[in-house]
């Protein structure tokens, strides 16, 4: 009897939550809730600003994005900052891929020392806050190896993300079946040739979704190098605010710029993803 009662008790609450979920995830309800939340946020921030006696100056913003004068079209400060953010992020990402690949190989090498070195590196990077890494690369390693703040920020972001990327690579490499290794070995391929011609091309479809996530993550975390005054989007925003006191407008604008860039990246990523799942 007890055995009969227990399962039916379990099933009931499950059904109830799924009914609520079903209601909440229906399109009209979702849209309504979404609009409600967004308007609450907008309303409270404008009310807050008003009660502070905030002086809105939205008309000032366009000139920080672009200007059109007698000398012709020119990008504004924020766009220059965005360009730095993008070049910084992609350079760091490329470097992170290379470091991450070698760390993953070390980890998978099966050599005792190799594995231990890789694990030490991963644990170090994973357990130190990104902000501390930035300071370490700029104030400590910078003077020792004589590089500037821009290099420091690239190195720091690359090292931080290489740890995450190496784990993604490792999972992708392990997802390829063992028989592929054996087949490649049996036609005389070296380990490196096997990775390049056999394993990595098959890993791509496992790697692509988390990798594009990493690109987005990189663009966002690049904002942190504003603490060492690299002239990227966030830093330039801060500079403009300290000159003009337009904190609300600038921060909103910057948030929207990041959002647009990341949405474009995500759309591109899902396109690439689709293509790869079709050919395989």
């Amino acid at each position: 009897m007890k055995g009969d009662a227990a399962p039916s008790l379990k099933i009931l609450p499950l059904r109830r939550t799924s009914a609520i979920n079903h209601f909440l995830s229906s399109t009209p309800v979702s849209v309504f809730i979404y609009c409600l939340i967004v308007s609450c946020i907008l309303y409270s921030s404008f009310r807050g600003a008003q009660s502070m006696g905030y002086n809105w100056q939205w008309y000032q913003i366009p000139k920080y994005i672009y200007s059109y004068t007698d000398e012709g079209f020119q990008f504004g400060e924020l766009m220059l900052g965005l360009w730095t953010t993008i070049t910084l992020s992609f350079t760091a990402f490329f470097l992170a891929l290379i470091i991450g690949f070698w760390v993953a190989l070390l980890r998978l090498s099966g050599l005792f020392i190799g594995t231990k070195i890789a694990i030490c590196f991963l644990e170090f990077v994973r357990n130190v806050p990104l902000l501390v890494l930035v300071y370490l690369f700029y104030y400590v390693l910078g003077p020792v190896f004589k590089y500037d703040r821009y290099t420091a920020s690239i190195l720091c972001l690359a090292v931080y993300h290489s740890a995450l990327i190496s784990e993604i690579l490792r999972a992708g490499i392990n997802a390829v079946v063992q028989g592929q290794w054996e087949a490649a070995k049996s036609i005389g391929m070296s380990k490196m040739q096997t990775y390049i011609y056999i394993i990595l091309p098959q890993s791509v479809r496992f790697l692509l979704p988390p990798m594009t996530g990493e690109v987005v993550h990189m663009v966002k975390s690049s904002a942190i190098v504003s603490v060492i005054a690299v002239a990227e989007l966030t830093t330039l925003g801060q500079n403009i605010i300290s000159d003009t006191y337009m904190a609300f407008e600038i921060w909103f604008t910057i948030a929207i710029i990041y959002m647009i860039v990341i949405m474009i990246l995500s759309i591109g990523a899902s396109q690439v993803e689709k293509r790869y799942t079709v050919t395989n």
């Binding site: 028989g179 592929q180 054996e182 087949a183 490649a184 070995k185 049996s186 036609i187 005389g188 391929m189 070296s190 040739q193 011609y197 056999i198 091309p201 098959q202 395989n280």
Partner: protein, 248 residues
């Protein structure tokens, strides 16, 4: 029988997986152009033995000499030696992201450093040999199991190996496809290639084998020419095994 030196030689070879001993004191020789068929119950160490020949597994004790080169873990010569040894797997192990033609040419191009044009000529020759010249541009997933296994055989042939190893090449195939693969293997046997083949296809074994080997629990129990092996094997276990699989 032959005065030539053996192309494969095992001497008192032991192989452990952790505590478990998969090969026990294996000594055996294969002469150039010899065709050897190995059979035995599942788990008797047949795969382990054949995988030791091209260093996919490393042995723990004893000596293995293949094509004049002694094998040991981490040997630098292993990669060169593997070019001389083709291997065909139960699960085909074709490269799914490459077309049939690319599957056949990637080894010659990347490992043997042959030009692409030359490699494709050779590849088409061997696709002809395994009777699927028209499938060159397809991907492995578009082929039947029997066709895939024939591509795998052609891939080994493209490396112009001296030795071909087969590990139960027909066990993963639907019954109606087994013969198309065995036919290709019989034709290969006629070319004078050295072959070591793990299989339970006794019709095939009778047709091509120079030597039959029976393994059980990591040991070689019986080595004999086919006539003797099938008519009056020395060991009882071998007799029982043959009775069992020939019943079907």
């Amino acid at each position: 029988m032959s005065i030539e030196s053996p192309i494969i030689k095992f001497q008192n070879v032991d192989k452990f997986y952790g505590e478990f001993q998969a090969l026990k004191d294996i000594s055996i020789e294969v002469q150039p152009s010899e065709r050897m068929v190995i059979c035995g119950p599942s788990g008797s160490g047949k795969s382990t033995l054949i995988r030791c020949i091209n260093g996919l597994e490393n042995h723990n004790y004893g000596q293995i000499i293949v094509n004049g080169i002694e094998l040991f873990e981490g040997s630098k010569e292993l990669i060169r030696l593997r070019q001389e040894i083709g291997m065909v797997f139960q699960q085909f192990n074709l490269f799914p992201h490459l077309t049939v033609l690319e599957n056949l040419t990637i080894g010659p191009i990347k490992v043997r450093k042959i030009s692409k044009v030359q490699a494709e000529i050779v590849a088409r020759k061997y696709l002809d040999r395994v009777h699927i010249p028209e499938q060159a541009e397809k991907y492995p997933s578009e082929l039947s199991g029997g066709q895939q296994q024939r591509v795998a055989i052609a891939r080994s042939l493209c490396m112009e190996s001296k030795i071909l190893l087969f590990d139960e090449p027909t066990s993963a195939l639907d019954p109606e496809m087994i013969n198309e693969v065995l036919d290709v293997m019989v034709e290969l046997a006629d070319t004078g290639m050295t072959m070591v083949c793990v299989t339970h296809e006794m019709g095939f074994a009778r047709k091509v084998a120079d030597t039959m080997v029976f393994m059980d629990e990591g040991r070689i129990i019986e080595v004999a020419p086919p006539d003797k092996f099938f008519s009056k094997p020395d060991s009882v276990r071998c007799r029982e095994f043959l009775d069992q699989i020939l019943e079907h």
